[in-house]
Symmetry: C2
Subunit: 249 residues, 2 copies
Amino acid sequence: MANIKLKEISTRAPKDWDKEETKEKTAAILAKLDELQNLLYAESKHSILVILQGMDASGKDGLVRKVFTSMNPQGVNVHSFKVPTSVELSHDFLWRIHAAVPAKGMIQLFNRSHYEDILVTRVHKMIDDKTAKKRMKAINDFEQLLQEHNDTHILKFYLHISPEEQQERLQERIHDVTKQWKYNERDFEEAKLWDDYMAAYEDCFEHCNDVPWTIVPADQNWYKEHIIASALLKTLEKLDMKFPGLKKG
Amino acid sequence: MANIKLKEISTRAPKDWDKEETKEKTAAILAKLDELQNLLYAESKHSILVILQGMDASGKDGLVRKVFTSMNPQGVNVHSFKVPTSVELSHDFLWRIHAAVPAKGMIQLFNRSHYEDILVTRVHKMIDDKTAKKRMKAINDFEQLLQEHNDTHILKFYLHISPEEQQERLQERIHDVTKQWKYNERDFEEAKLWDDYMAAYEDCFEHCNDVPWTIVPADQNWYKEHIIASALLKTLEKLDMKFPGLKKG
């Protein structure tokens, strides 16, 4: 994805999409996902890694709740990567990531990921461009390892919201009692660095696209959920899975 | 629970329980659990540990799928404890267990648990009675640690099926293509040790009941699911949780 300009990509659903109709379709997809996840687990040949990235308040947690709650938690793990601990920082940046990749049969969701190591770190000048490029190569190699050596199918989503939508949602966290626990004063400081983040993301889409990114218009939750559930369904259907027969003792 | 005789406890729902009515009640409970789990996660003061034990084919996996799928996987983890690896065996028996206990805000489900270390090991004479007693004390101390030092609420369930029901379900695994992946020839060998397992369980209920066990009649899935969903609801409701206000920056 060369020369992507996020500013030029809409953060909203195409005009002709009907909200209620889409929601019904998504519900049907979620029911199918539950069945296919059970089959993935039973067959234990493939694994799925879903990488979710996006700015603060882009709706990552909500996406997890809406789309991934439909599946058996025995076969679905969610890992939220926070600011690295001192132990994690005493290893290479992929060490803590590698420890959390899915075993065969599993669906693993990364809520933020190794991409933070070329995003937030870069915006805050904790690493220089040369280090960023080296990390990008390491990320490509790492994703290839997972794909080729453990049949891991990787889906990468960027939840694309507008800065106006972000401001509205951050404000809501102050006033809505069910959302106040998510409020962090520093999010407003980070929001000021919007353009720097967009530049870092654009660079990452250009150089880490061996496993392709999907840019998901995410101002409207119903559309975002539909796009991601559909992509997951398509991936699972392509695996052509079967219940394995009787194992030999 | 002194002098429990599992043989004398029914494996079926009381006669006056209506199946369809119970299923409706369970569905309503699952909807409430989803809300309360979200609140547990938001508040991040308490944690929940659910321990599931039972013979092969007692319906542990099905229970997880039916009851725990209703909640956001971001706040719910399931850990299935299998035969220990060589690394795990080079530590004390609670080492791998401790690593998997829930953080504040989380619901953790153990599908089998540290109790296997005084069940399967005992039936197969891998440990003697003296070691078993020492382990029971260690287990009681460990569960107390979790309760007192991280506000972990522990629920322990034994899925109680009859040996006849077990045989029926194991046979079904041979013939039902969607269940063949669960078939393991050795389960039939283990099934012959039924009485030894019951004795080991009875001893465990007697000596490891500081955190009380619930013996769940489990021949009928709808009843088992109702009992466990209800117990979880009762535990969560008692916590008297609130959405925390705005954090200080």
